[in-house]
């Protein structure tokens, strides 16, 4: 009889989820890196000579962490959501539902795989950007911490969206009408201090702003708001979303009728 291991089920699901995106890495890793670099090329060409941030930080340097984090967040969401909706629509989700995996293992495997894809794409964007732009890294642990937490939040949102959506159209709506606006209006491309007072206040209701701002603090040691406040908001968002996702999975919402 082959060896049995208590956590092997979770590890296998995690391995499968990583292998799934790695097998199509041109689409899931290389393409998002290229997209981010196109943003960098265009914005730096147009704005670099006209805008500085935090006193003397060049706009292109300021932009890079924003693009890295945007890539982390969008790809973390894409990973869990697309995997789940594809599995649901093709029916092969039953291969994950029939084995003795707990809903916690299910959640952890999908979210960790999302974080890994997000980090992989983010690292790719950073590595290629660093070839053209000087990007300091004042506090690497803050960078890593915000990247992991942001990936976990978006990975959880991806699990929610993948389970909730019954067709690709609904998933696209979730992505285009919720994730994309919150990301774009979070300060990826600008410091909120360049906004009118009203929009600065509105930005504080966007949790993505705290993810980007805290992440950027790790690079420059400066940010629009306190990094501890950002960490608190992002940590709280993760706890709330994890609790919601786990509750959905425990109930078997749209998975076990």
């Amino acid at each position: 009889m082959a060896a049995e291991s208590p956590l092997a089920g979770f590890r296998t699901l995690l391995y499968k989820e990583v292998l799934r995106f790695w097998k199509v890495s041109f689409q899931t890793v290389a393409a998002p890196v290229l997209n981010a670099l196109l943003f960098l090329l265009i914005f730096s060409h147009v704005l670099d000579r006209h805008v500085t941030v935090y006193g003397e930080v060049a706009y292109t340097s300021f932009l890079v962490p924003g693009l890295v984090m945007m890539s982390v967040l969008q790809n973390a969401f894409a990973n869990s959501s697309s995997s789940l909706i594809q599995s649901k629509i093709t029916g092969n989700i039953i291969f994950v539902l029939l084995p003795p995996l707990s809903y916690r293992e299910f959640y952890a495997a999908y979210v960790i795989a999302s974080i890994l894809r997000g980090l992989m794409v983010g690292a790719g964007v950073l590595a290629v950007s660093a070839a053209f732009v000087v990007v300091p890294m004042a506090h690497p642990l803050w960078v890593l911490g915000f990247a992991v937490l942001g990936g976990a939040i978006l990975g959880s949102l991806g699990v929610i969206a993948g389970i909730w959506a019954e067709k690709f159209d609904q998933l696209a709506a979730f992505q285009n009408f919720l994730i994309m606006p919150l990301t774009m209006l979070s300060g990826v491309f600008y410091s909120i201090h360049s906004l009118p007072r009203f929009w600065q206040d509105v930005s504080h209701f966007n949790p993505f702003f705290f993810m980007i701002d805290g992440f950027r603090y790790g690079f420059f040691g400066q940010s629009d708001t306190s990094p501890w406040l950002s960490l608190g908001v992002v940590g709280l968002c993760f706890v709330l979303l994890a609790a919601l996702t786990l509750a959905m999975l425990a109930r078997g919402y749209k998975l076990r009728s």
Binding site: A3, Y15, P99, P100
Partner: protein, 298 residues
Amino acid sequence: MSTPAIRIQGVSKHYGSLKALGGVDLEVGQGEFFGLLGPNGAGKTTLISALSGLVRPDSGTLAIMGHDVVADYRNARRNLGVVPQELVFDPFFSVRELLRIQSGYFGIRSNDDWIDEILASLDLTHKASANMRMLSGGMKRRVLVAQALVHRPPVIVLDEPTAGVDVELRQGLWQFIRKLNRDGHTIVLTTHYLEEAEALCGRIAMLKAGRIVALDTTANLLRRFATHSLSVRLEHPARGVELGGSAGEGGWVDFAFDSYGEVETLLARLREGGAGLVEMRLGEPDLERVFVEVMNRA
């Protein structure tokens, strides 16, 4: 007395106002080859889904090898292998990758020896490295069977495994499933091919509208519900009908009887009635007749 392979007690399930299962009680003993039959929408797949944890019943309990499918789901699922009705597959992986992954889900590492054995038994060895997308429908069906077996479950449920499968593959599949049953696995089969169920299953339950309407050994069901038949072609078919026969296809007239001793009497009645016997044939009782009879009575 040994623990039943499957124990289902008072299981009900509604989807809105639709009653899918209405208080089903059923036990399947270890080592049985059990048939679950019923028309479309009878509740067979819902019952199998409840056993495998894909559907949560409104009331009642289900256990696999004594393990409750909700309270002790890990052990219940370790003891159960399900071959689903739909031809589903993961397009990202090869056959071997898929079987290794499936083994891992059940906590099993280094399962290649058993995977090789299953692949050989299902004539899939030469396709082990092929991506699932490249396989024919029959091959995909075999991979589904292999996936259900990777963790060596003592109870195997096959939900219409031969739907849309050619004769050669069907026979090969049954040969393999029979061997598993001889080796001690409990087999639960749902199928619309009643001749398959008759040939393979020792005991059968028939479902209609979410209720079990017949449950007995296959032999007893055939004895209780099905009759022999005498079909005759007559010079005057109308006389045959007048003498108690029923008009069949192509001018044949059918008479039902319970024992062969009645054949002589039937033929004598036809002769005396001047029906003019041209041709005759005897029909054995079969599960199809039992099924129709049971469904009409229920």
